[in-house]
């Protein structure tokens, strides 16, 4: 190819033009990425600034403006005074309900998942794969299909509308996922390990306790974070199976926002929403890597 740019000067000009174009593209790229960051952050920003404004300022001011005068009144009211219907105790009692549901729910389902995964991956017996497939499918059902019979069963068991009832439901429908996590983790551990330990006379439980559990810290973290996020953020079970005093925080938040009594207090709504979101946000910020691993474990296997 012999065109004009073949002369050294012209070639150099094209090169510097190319470099210029490259820098421009680079800037454009960062601009686009920044715009998307704004898009994802804006709702959180609006929630936060709204929660720090007075109602007066909200009515007269601009949605995205910073508060002229920062006030924490809305936070105080959201925590201990906002009305969720006839009660006006804020989200505090419901926040503790969620803690009381989530902590045992997470621990029990993770423990069961660890044991199940250990059996399915390492003590393969006939039918273990079918059992695993059946449990796995349980992860994918729309929970609407079990709501009615579960409501009746909880009633028969005498735990309808109670916190133990909600723990029970979350454990039952969490087992599939926790088993999946641990099974996929243990399946990568060579079976020779169990065989060697058996030769040395170690029992089933001892091998689990002394060999497998110590190896499992990362997947325990994944399972705990996944289950915590699921249970904390749950609304369907919470709204279906709780009663007046036992609602989780998501249900209370929805009640506060949609309660029709009195003046609409947007700042209180936003403060309550942030309070309800804080625990899972905190987990995400502290252990995001494990959160993402949990998210992808159900979809990308490998």
């Amino acid at each position: 190819m012999t065109d004009v740019s073949a002369t050294p000067a012209a070639a150099a000009a094209t090169r510097s033009q190319g470099a210029g174009l490259k820098t421009a593209l680079r800037w454009g790229l960062y601009l686009i990425l920044a715009l998307f960051a704004v898009y994802y952050l804006l709702p959180l920003f609006v929630m936060l600034t709204t929660s720090l404004k007075s109602l007066e300022e909200i009515r007269t001011g601009d949605l995205v403006a910073l508060p002229r005068e920062v006030t924490f009144d809305a936070w105080a009211k959201a925590w201990s005074g906002a009305c969720t219907g006839i009660q006006c105790e804020g989200v505090r009692p419901y926040f503790w309900n969620s803690v009381q549901i989530a902590v045992p729910g997470v621990l029990i389902s993770t423990l069961l998942g660890a044991v199940n995964g250990y059996v399915i991956a390492q003590w393969r017996f006939k039918g273990a794969n079918i059992i695993f497939a059946l449990m796995l499918f349980g992860c994918f059902i729309p929970f609407q299909v079990v709501l009615l019979p579960m409501a009746r069963l909880l009633g028969l068991m005498g735990i309808a509308g109670t916190i133990p009832g909600l723990i029970f439901v979350h454990v039952i429908y969490g087992i599939g996922f926790t088993t999946l996590f641990f099974r996929n983790y243990y399946v990568t551990i060579p079976q020779e390990l169990v065989k060697a330990a058996k030769v040395d006379g170690a029992s089933f439980l001892r091998i689990f306790w002394s060999i497998f559990l110590p190896l499992s810290i990362p997947i325990i973290v994944v399972s705990v974070i996944w289950q915590f996020t699921q249970i904390w953020n749950d609304f369907l079970f919470g709204v279906s199976f709780s009663s007046a005093g036992t609602q989780p925080v998501t249900v209370a938040l929805n009640n506060i926002v949609n309660s029709t009594t009195g003046v609409k207090e947007y700042n209180v709504d936003m403060a309550a929403a942030i309070i309800a979101a804080l625990p899972t946000l905190l987990v995400y910020v502290v252990a995001g890597k494990y959160f993402i691993r949990g998210l992808t474990a159900g979809s990308v296997k490998g």
């Binding site: 790229l29 686009i32 990425l33 998307f36 960051a37 994802y40 709702p43 609006v46 929630m47 709204t50 909200i58 601009d62 949605l63 044991v115 199940n116 059996v119 017996f125 273990a128 497939a133 059946l134 499918f137 349980g138 994918f140 059902i141 729309p142 609407q144 299909v145 079990v146 709501l147 009615l148 409501a151 009746r152 039952i172 429908y173 087992i175 088993t179 089933f204 953020n233 749950d234 609304f235 279906s240 998501t250 938040l253 929805n254 926002v257 949609n258 947007y266 709504d269 936003m270 929403a273 942030i274 309800a276 979101a277 899972t280 946000l281 987990v283 995400y284 998210l295 979809s299 296997k301």
Partner: protein, 290 residues
């Protein structure tokens, strides 16, 4: 006896979970299926009476709206999330200096409850004090953005909020996929002088087909189960303009006292998921056993 116990201990340990799944997943699905074939109203009845509930369901304009909304919502939510997620992943894969921080920002909505997301967007989109009022305040007095309270447009606000919540997750899936593409092939293509966009469209994106499938399954699953977001954002309204199958089922089960309708609508949801998930799970498990 002790020996028998030790050899069977693995099965004994697995049994409670397995029995629980059999009862609470499969038994309960069976119960719902059964009741969906009866004349149950306020209380479940057990005399099978054919497909009367399904006839009622398909004749119901509200269910019709719910299914139409599912198509609109599901279709737009899945396609836009996939496209946006892929674009963001490709943009982020260009040796960005602050990639970790950007990824964290794009993905955090996934950690939020749908109720929180719905509450936030309900506030942002409310015509009185939200975006519409803000833009009007800037001097564009004729600006109108009242989708939240407009029966024809309200479903699109659900789409907007759902995409905001989930697109970062799709981005993370694709980014992981981009990182696992064989760099040798890409380098070879670049040496041959193939332009970057061609490398993407001809080599990289096709090689991520399994990730498209995974993301599709997860998003479709999210779409069919969508319940909290609608409740928090629109409450199913105006009227029942933003009803989805999940909110229809809930209304029938817990506020209308129509157990038969609740059961039959739940079964339709179940079947939709079944059609999408079972072939996928089957191929996944088969691939692993081979």
């Amino acid at each position: 006896m002790a020996k028998w116990f030790e050899t069977h201990l693995p099965k004994i340990v697995l049994a409670p979970s397995f029995i629980a799944v059999l009862i609470f997943v499969y038994g309960f699905i069976g119960w719902t299926a059964w009741v969906s074939l009866t004349r149950s109203k306020l209380m479940p009845r057990y005399e099978i009476d054919g497909f009367i509930q399904y006839d009622r369901l398909f004749a119901s304009p509200r269910w019709d709206t719910a299914m139409n909304n599912l198509y609109i919502f599901g279709g737009m939510f899945i396609i836009i999330s996939l496209v946006l997620g892929l674009i963001l992943a490709i943009l982020l894969d260009q040796q960005i200096r602050v990639e970790g921080a950007i990824r964290t920002i794009y993905l955090y909505p996934m950690a939020l409850s749908m109720i929180v997301t719905g509450t936030a967007w309900k506030w942002i989109l409310n015509p009185g004090l939200g975006v519409q009022a803000m833009v009007q305040g800037w001097g564009f007095e004729n600006f109108k953005f009242d989708w939240l309270v407009n029966p024809d447009m309200a479903i699109y606000t659900v789409v907007m909020a759902a995409i905001w919540q989930s697109s970062g997750f799709v981005m993370a899936l694709f980014l992981a996929g981009l990182r696992s593409v064989d760099t040798e092939i890409i380098r070879a293509a670049q040496i041959d002088g193939i332009p970057t966009w061609r490398v993407y469209t001809a080599i990289i994106i096709p090689s991520m087909a399994p990730i498209f499938l995974s993301a599709f399954i997860v998003l479709a699953h999210l779409a069919i189960k969508s319940f909290d977001l609608v409740i928090a954002l629109t409450g199913g309204g105006p009227g029942y303009a933003t009803d989805l199958p999940a909110t229809y089922m809930y209304a029938m089960a817990f506020s209308r006292g129509d157990v038969g309708q609740a059961a039959s609508s739940a079964m339709i949801m179940m079947m939709v998921i079944f059609i999408i998930v079972v072939p996928y799970l089957y191929s996944e498990l088969r691939a692993k056993n081979d």
